[in-house]
């Protein structure tokens, strides 16, 4: 595990361009709700950035904007050196390089676990059948579900479904992964298995943008923590600084509230 000093150093030593760069993004829903009000953040290559904050603060909206599933009204989002857009071939090309994991799993219920994981390579990358199957099996093995290849999503526990969903996203060999409250819909006893897979990914150097209520995960895995409230970034910093001595009273209040929340599962120590 990296120390806070190392993490701080890594963060500030970055000179190269960020992999994900969100610049002054605004998003107002057709209903009139202002979900994002000038949000900026950066994720460098190989970094785990955790986004925390109360419900309705715009975290999930921000994540959907990053891969263009949700349009933005103002500002811009860059992935590498390309601007993220909502529609068209260019938008799809970027989306292929960004994996996404949803709170409600969103596995395809009419396909087996193997079929789900192979769907991206098969339909989007148009890979040959044998190559698709080999990749899908390897990824199911990686998330510890090699024996569940032929199971339908419905036959799997929540934690298993979410691990299949992670494997499905990884099958596109993305450069970055977005996690939208990936453990919020899980039974407490299966939260750990999903967090472990995420932690393993982080160790392997995957660039990750993680919206989470798991403060234990943010504290021990994140390189950088962004606190959001009301569609804005309240403050950001290394986990040590955010959890050790937040500058703002509102951040302190939020952290005190979630520290006492029952669903904060701890991540297995490395």
């Amino acid at each position: 595990m990296t120390t806070d000093d190392q993490r701080d150093h890594r963060r500030y030593a970055h000179n190269g361009p960020a992999l994900i760069r969100v610049e002054e993004v605004f998003r107002r829903y057709p209903t009139g709700v202002e979900a994002l009000r000038g949000v900026s953040l950066i994720a460098h290559e190989g970094e785990v950035v955790c986004i925390i904050g109360p419900s309705g603060s715009g975290k999930s909206t921000l994540l959907r904007c990053v891969n263009g599933l949700e349009p933005i009204d103002r500002g811009r989002i860059l992935f590498g050196d390309r601007e993220v857009r909502g529609k068209g071939r260019e938008a799809r090309a970027i989306r292929q390089q960004i994996g996404m994991v949803f709170q409600s799993f969103e596995l395809f219920p009419h396909m087996t676990a193997l079929g789900n994981v192979g769907e991206g390579p098969r339909t989007v990358l148009r890979m040959a059948h044998a190559a698709v199957e080999a990749r899908a099996r390897a990824l199911l093995d990686k998330v510890g579900l090699a024996d569940k290849a032929d199971a339908l999503p419905l036959q799997l526990s929540g934690g298993q479904q979410q691990r299949v969903a992670i494997a499905r996203a990884l099958a596109m060999e993305p450069r970055a992964m977005l996690f939208d409250e990936a453990t919020s819909a899980l039974d407490p006893e299966t939260v750990g298995e999903v967090l472990n897979v995420m932690q393993q990914l982080a160790r392997e150097g995957m660039t990750m943008l993680v919206v989470t209520h798991e403060m234990g995960f943010a504290r021990s895995v994140a390189d950088w923590v962004v606190v959001m409230e009301n569609g804005q970034v309240l403050e950001e910093g290394t986990p040590a600084r955010i959890f050790g001595g937040p500058r703002l009273a509102r951040t302190r209040e939020f952290l005190q509230r979630v520290e006492h929340a029952p669903h904060d599962a701890t991540v297995k120590p490395e």
């Binding site: 959907r64 599933l69 799809r92 989306r95 292929q96 949803f102 969103e106 009419h110 991206g120 339909t123």
Partner: protein
């Protein structure tokens, strides 16, 4: 008195009509499914004017009686518009328009019932909207609308009997013709009922089976 020989003799006479009934059902249903899917997609995703047009088309055919629709096509189209189609083609066209109107509402509800997250999951993999529709949304919607579609099939099988009023020689037409020959109304109409029952009952049972199967899956 029920005359058994007359009852039994009726069946061979019905046979040629049966062929027309089955042909009509087999022709109409697949066409209606395709048209219904296009109507449903138009109402869900097309620009407003086209969606409204599709809605008008659906409501017009849902809100008028099938018998009237068939008569209108059969008598008004040739006399007022000079469009003269063979009788079978005319009634097939009418049935396709009618059945697709009802089916499209079913399809529309089925497609709309697939939650947005499924679209997001497909598109997050880099799929186009068309890929997401055909790979993700449609297979799920299809399994939801299948039971309703199957019972529509049985309904159609029986409703084709209306075409007998337009000199299309289906099962019912043959029976009514036979009745005017031998005046054995009781035997002939009972034979007709038995013919429909024997053919439709397995189809209805098949629908029940689809309903049960679908319940387990969801």
């Amino acid at each position: 008195m029920f005359h058994l020989p007359a009852f039994l003799d009726a069946f061979p006479a019905l046979l040629s009509g049966l062929r027309v009934t089955i042909e009509l059902t087999l022709l109409v249903m697949p066409c209606a499914v395709v048209v219904a899917l296009l109507l449903a997609l138009a109402r869900l995703y097309a620009p407003r004017p086209i969606a409204n047009l599709a809605m008008g088309r659906v409501e017009l055919w849902r809100a008028t009686p099938l018998l009237l629709q068939l008569y209108w096509l059969y008598y008004v189209m040739p006399s007022e518009f000079g469009i003269l189609l063979p009788g079978l083609a005319t009634v097939a066209f009418g049935l396709i328009c009618n059945v697709s109107a009802f089916l499209s509402e079913n399809f529309r509800a089925g497609i709309a019932s697939i939650r947005a997250g499924q679209w997001h999951a497909g598109r997050a993999l880099g799929m186009s909207e068309i890929q997401a529709f055909f790979r993700i949304v449609m297979p799920q919607a299809w399994s939801r609308v299948l039971p309703e579609t199957a019972s529509m099939w049985v309904e159609l099988f029986k409703e084709t009997s209306l075409v007998s009023t337009l000199a299309v020689a289906d099962l019912t037409y043959r029976a009514l013709a036979l009745r005017t020959e031998n005046y054995r109304t009781l035997e002939v109409l009972t034979a007709l009922a038995v013919a429909y029952l024997v053919l439709a009952y397995p189809q209805a049972k098949f629908c029940d089976w689809l309903y049960r199967r679908q319940r387990v899956h969801e």
